[in-house]
């Protein structure tokens, strides 16, 4: 929509441009690049008289090649019938999806799964993630269940100390036993998926230990340093109570295991406050 101007001397253009507001910059076409993306930049006046810039980005993409047999080719030229007979070209029955849909490969167990796919026993998943952390006081068996979920509950004498403590998130499914007539919210019933507690278990698996910290390093410093790799749920710096100085080590818990790995790779050996950091997995090398 270029306004034809006739010959314009450069000297006139140098003047105060207010006189030339009625002119619009020319249409620019940035030709199809290697991805086939074409950009067209146009200028026009909108209803209020303001100069408006319109950028249209288009990509022409071949979805597939239609290999049609002779018969199929004939069928292509059949007239439309039934409800399609009066369809105009603008009918939006058939549209190409705006979203790119991928064939998503399944994630290997142990890496982050964003969907609550804990099929079957949620405790089985918990057991796998934090096996070393679960100790049952009743039977002393490690890694299988917590005390309140102990299958051998009757063996040990009941301990009074735990009566006042309401069942924590770890023992959440136990109130769902038969004969109990307390209300159990859906998220805590047996077979409930999307347990929030799984978050904590997995986080401890994404825990990174940082050693050789300088004595004035504190939690905010570690957070600043590690947040660039991804969301961090918890930072901790061990501090000597008497002197107030850092004991030289701390822990950082990431949300994502991959971010924790990246942090380890990048920051191990990194010079921070005149000391070389040592960054490694906190628990003995998970998987």
């Amino acid at each position: 929509m270029a306004v034809s101007m006739g010959k314009l001397r450069w000297g006139e253009l140098e003047d105060d441009a207010e006189d030339l507001d009625f002119l619009l910059p020319p249409r620019v076409v940035i030709g199809p690049d290697e991805n086939g993306v074409k950009k067209v930049i146009e200028y026009r006046f909108d209803d209020a008289g303001n100069k408006v810039r319109v950028t249209t980005t288009t990509r022409v993409r071949k979805l597939t090649r239609a290999r049609l047999s002779k018969r199929a080719l004939e069928r292509r030229s059949w007239p439309k019938f039934g409800d399609a007979a009066h369809e105009d070209v603008g009918a939006r029955l058939t549209m190409v999806s705006t979203e790119e849909i991928l064939l998503e490969r399944p994630r290997a167990p142990g890496s982050k799964a964003d969907e609550p796919k804990a099929a079957g026993d949620p405790f089985a998943a918990m057991g796998k993630a934090g096996a070393v952390l679960m100790v049952c006081r009743t039977c002393g068996k490690k890694g299988d269940h917590w005390t309140s979920k102990c299958p051998y509950k009757d063996l040990a004498p009941p301990t009074d100390t735990f009566l006042d403590k309401p069942p924590g998130a770890e023992a959440a499914a136990s109130p769902a036993g038969p004969g109990k007539n307390t209300y159990v919210p859906p998220s805590m019933r047996a077979g409930a998926e999307n347990r929030g507690t799984e978050m904590r278990r997995r986080n401890d698996e994404n825990s990174v230990r940082v050693t050789n910290l300088s004595e004035d390093t504190r939690e905010p410093d570690l957070l600043e340093l590690f947040r660039t790799f991804g969301p961090v749920t918890r930072v901790y710096v061990a501090v000597d109570q008497k002197t107030g100085a850092s004991r030289g080590f701390g822990f950082v818990n990431f949300v994502n295991r991959d971010d924790a790995e990246k942090a380890i790779n990048k920051l191990n050996g990194y010079g921070y406050d005149n000391l070389i950091l040592r960054v490694e997995w906190a628990t003995p090398r998970p998987n």
């Binding site: 019938f81 849909i101 064939l103 490969r105």
Partner: protein, 326 residues
């Protein structure tokens, strides 16, 4: 992939079928009108008006001239594919659930639901070349299975009919005599109603999907259980790829989980499994409701899925699909 979305149906999809050459896609839904689309760009070619009830199943003849549809209005109708004209209507005493053309397109096997005290039946009708000579009498009627027979298909060389349904047992019947030849082993078979059955391209094996959240691959002659694919959702539809060793399974969501799972839009997926290794290859998301129909294009380069949301999604595979290694 950029799936092509086709919204030709107002009600949930029930069945999808490609023609032999893979250029037409027929879709059946609970609205009473089957549609036909061009399989390359999803453009609608036409609709078949005439049924008065949900259309459950369809099949198209090898020359793509005749379409047969089974509907809940107790009829099975024969149509001219090209112009949507109804050529013949078979009347039954109960809703018709499934149709399948035989090799040679001379016979169709039809299943009808149990209705008002009548048992479910499997019937074979002869299809005449000339619609004017069409007769309505059944060549063969089989009564036996209890409950709905969701699918019945022809076995290899039309010698047998394979049926599967609500009573979870797959049966093989002799076409000549109507006698029961084989039954699938109850122990290893499905535990809940079989919702779908799909043959391989050469007819030597077939895949059944069931509400017991699994799909099983069977040999068509001996009814041996070959493979089992386990998913987390009841299976409503299944298909075998004609090109690669893949199967695709689509399903729904258990009613129990409707409130506790997050309502993410478009999260119903069609799951791909390696046919021999039984391992999951991946999932293709996008449907807003349970997937009720799946079909592979005979050339294996695209597939379509139909959902409870009324949409048909036509996917042309990306080049890297063909080089997936397990």
């Amino acid at each position: 992939m950029r799936p092509i979305l086709m919204k030709g149906h107002e009600r949930p999809l029930t069945f999808l079928r490609y023609n032999r050459e893979g250029d037409l896609l027929f879709s059946c839904a609970k609205d009473h009108t089957p549609n036909v689309w061009f399989a390359d760009n999803g453009e609608r070619l036409g609709t078949y008006r005439g049924h008065n009830g949900a259309v459950w199943c369809c099949d198209v003849s090898r020359d793509s001239m005749r379409l047969i549809t089974a509907s809940a209005d107790q009829t099975v109708k024969l149509w001219n594919v090209q112009d949507g004209v109804q050529l013949y209507s078979f009347n039954f005493d109960s809703p018709a659930k499934s149709v399948d053309f035989s090799v040679g397109d001379k016979l169709v096997v039809v299943t009808t639901d149990p209705f008002m005290g009548l048992p479910s039946t499997i019937q074979v009708k002869r299809i005449a070349r000339d619609p004017n000579e069409q007769t309505t009498e059944s060549v063969l009627t089989i009564k036996g299975p209890v409950g709905r027979i969701n699918r019945a298909v022809w076995g290899p060389l039309n010698k047998t009919i394979i049926s599967a349904g609500e009573d979870t047992v797959i049966r093989v019947w002799d076409t000549e005599t109507g006698k029961l030849l084989k039954e699938a082993d109850k122990e290893i078979g499905h535990q809940k109603t079989i919702t779908s059955l799909s043959k391989s391209a050469d007819g030597s094996h077939f895949l059944t999907g069931s509400s017991d959240k699994s799909a099983k691959l069977w040999d068509a002659r001996t009814l041996t259980l070959l493979k089992t694919y386990v998913t987390e959702r009841p299976v409503n539809a299944c298909a075998i790829s004609p090109l690669l060793d893949h199967v695709v399974i689509g399903g729904g969501q258990e009613a129990v989980h409707v409130t506790t799972t997050d309502r993410r839009a478009g999260k119903f997926e069609a799951k791909f499994f390696h046919k021999n290794l039984q391992e999951e290859i991946g999932g293709v998301k996008g449907h807003f409701g349970p997937i009720n129909a799946l079909a592979f294009n005979p050339d294996g380069r695209s597939f379509s899925s139909g959902g409870e949301d009324g949409y048909v999604r036509l996917h042309h595979f990306d080049p890297d699909y063909f080089s997936i290694r397990m």
